[in-house]
Amino acid sequence: MRELTCDFLIVGSGAAGTTLAATLAELSHQRIILLEKGGHFEKEFFNQREWDMANALYAEEGARSTDDRAIPVRGGECVGGGTTVNIALCFDPVKSVWDRWQRENGLEGFSFDINARDYGVENLNLATSLNDVRTRLGVHRAAESELNRNNRLFEEGCQRLGIRAHRFELNMRGCISCGFCGQGCAYDAKQGTMVTYLRDALARGVQLIHHCDVSRLELEERSGRPRATGAVAQIKSTRAGSRPNSVPPGSLRIRAKTVIVSAGAIETPCLLVRSGHPDPYRLLGRGLVLHPSLPIVGIMREEVAGHRGIEGAVYSDHFFETHGFYFECLFGHPQYGSAIVPSIGVEHFELMLQYSNLAGFGVMLVDTPQPRNRVEWDAVSGKSKIHYRLSPAEVERLRFAAARGVEIMFAAGAREVFLPSEEPIGPLSSPRFNDSAQARYCRELKFLPHQTTITSSHCQSTTKMSSEASLGLLNSRGESHHVDNLIVCDSSAFPSSCGANPMISIMTMARYQGRRIAAELDRYAP
């Protein structure tokens, strides 16, 4: 088997892994190898066709879902990960959440004070790391000229009902408002890690290996404790359209002084399981957070063309403190959009005929970790298995959110509003509403699997940081409690939901950890 050697091996080139690689390379002279399971596709490859891009850029070719297939769990599986396929929404880390993690999970460090010196390290605090990330990604608030009709309608609907709405911050530079963020940016306008931190990392000598399926991490017993010493992987043939790889296909062993896993909240626990990572408190993979989302669709009296323009430019946090959800503007292209439009036959087609007049936004619920919601590694199929059920409290919150969402859509001028659901509610054979007063029937929604469509994009919290090994797999440094020289740095490390769309929180944490590791290299000496 071929062998490579490095100081730091980083598994996963998404929001966390690439940011970490670039930061470590910037601040140290370590040899760093960055692995990615998917391909390395750049702007010339992105053809703005839903099916093609789902197959190439998304986990399980866009078909990843919960085990019962009820909830699509879409995530990027390509260089850049979720930052290549997301819709560029930026939320700063939510201080109240990090404060709660400090109180309840004993987290240390992660100061929001820009003058703080966490671990005694100059400039090591979340505020500095956040500023770095915001600057590198060009994060800016959406301007008036960047709002398409769909976002304006949502904003107007909120204003008419006295519901607080804001313009999103976006990581874009020179966006031409094509509406195809979810298919990869064909113009390098979306500032995902692929066009930012990856370029920085490669320029500083980081070796990227893509099409790399990591079979397992290698753990060796040293002084009675396991220690991560590298990984074994299979390099697949490079897919047509991808950049060339830095190694040829075949088996590969990579020896490393320290391994950092940044494979995301679904793949990270699976990798740790198949690597035999100790799990004495049965935490690994458990407490999965998904941010379940419910689309709300309105039929307007005039053309909206929601598929054009920046998909998400307006959101509302009006109900975040009281009910734990956001409303966020979103819209779908017709191939996957047709799957969430309810009914079949003539009824379905007549809704699709309204496509240009449809307006859409969604409820994004901040769910809480439940042990039964979990990721497992299925060795037989060679895939992750995601088990997830809404709790009764979450169903109640979704009912409330659905009702408020229907009201907002009517206030925005909809002549009819529908949910992606076949559930009969009240006198209605399905959730299709003709006036705002009917929103009250949303309290009868059961959200049964395969009857009301719930989606998800923000998997988190499947390894968890905590000072107590009985509450989290990792300490505040992201180091495994049970395996030396193994760090996890991705959304799986969050003790619970980070409280918002997670990209900036993940990258800020990664930038922070990169700074910390660079200053504490002695901790990781062999």
């Binding site: 066709r49 019962d68 094509c178 195809f180 323009g309 920046i310 017709p334 959009g337 199929s381 009969p424």
Partner: protein, 225 residues
């Protein structure tokens, strides 16, 4: 056997092991709820064990596409079920991929309309395992399905889905979509998803709904409406 029906609905690997088949036969043999149930379970076993020939499952899929899509609508473009099926087979590799073996067998079971209200052993097992259904849930959902089926069956000709009129076919699909059994809703929703995703990848449907497709190569899109 238990795994196979769950696999049917989920589209996962559908190979039925010989031991599962023998277990199911044993369960059916012990089933004490009457000859009709024994016969129904035997029929369902045949559907679930045998790999249907393409000449058998393709017409069912055609009929299902006909129910899901509005070929009968005056504004529906001039594409037919065979085109949609060809696209579906191409996109999803329906004939090659092993995990669609279970979907094909599921089509066979779906086509056997009189089986809908029956308490089929594999379904009940899958419902308990995958959806945490209790015995009272199963009793309640079985009664609900039986009642809905009585209403449906009053004016329905034929015993197979492919023989149903278009209206009856759509009503039958709704029976599955509205069933209290998650495993039934899962199958018909999965079928709807792959049918519409395939259909709406075809440009005639884009034109019909006013979708202008990729921007690459076009003049800059209007966004300020």
């Amino acid at each position: 056997m238990k795994d196979s029906y769950q696999a049917i609905a989920s589209g996962a690997v559908g190979q039925i092991a010989r031991r599962d088949f023998l277990h199911a036969c044993g369960v059916i043999a012990l089933c004490g709820s009457g000859c009709a149930s024994l016969f129904s379970n035997a029929r369902s076993t045949r559907h679930l064990v045998s790999e249907p020939h393409p000449d058998d499952w393709r017409p069912i899929l055609n009929s299902l596409a006909g129910a899901v899509l509005a070929f009968d609508h005056p504004q529906f473009p001039s594409i037919g079920p065979p085109q949609v099926q060809a696209r579906l087979v191409e996109m999803f590799h329906l004939e090659e991929r092993e995990h669609f073996a279970s979907f094909r067998r599921g089509l066979s079971l779906f086509n056997d309309v009189p089986l809908f209200p029956e308490r089929l052993v594999p379904l009940m097992d899958a419902e308990r395992r995958e959806y945490g259904a209790s015995e009272s849930d199963i009793d309640e959902n079985s009664a609900k399905d039986a009642h809905a089926f009585i209403q449906f069956a009053r004016n329905k000709p034929g015993g197979s889905f492919v023989e149903l009129s278009l209206d009856h076919a759509r009503t039958y699909c709704r029976l599955w979509a509205q069933s209290g059994f998650g495993i039934k809703r899962q199958f018909v929703r999965s079928a709807k998803t792959i049918i519409v995703v395939s259909a709406y990848s075809l440009t005639p449907l884009w034109t019909a709904i006013g979708y202008d497709g990729p921007l690459l190569g076009q003049p800059r899109a209007r966004t300020n409406l």
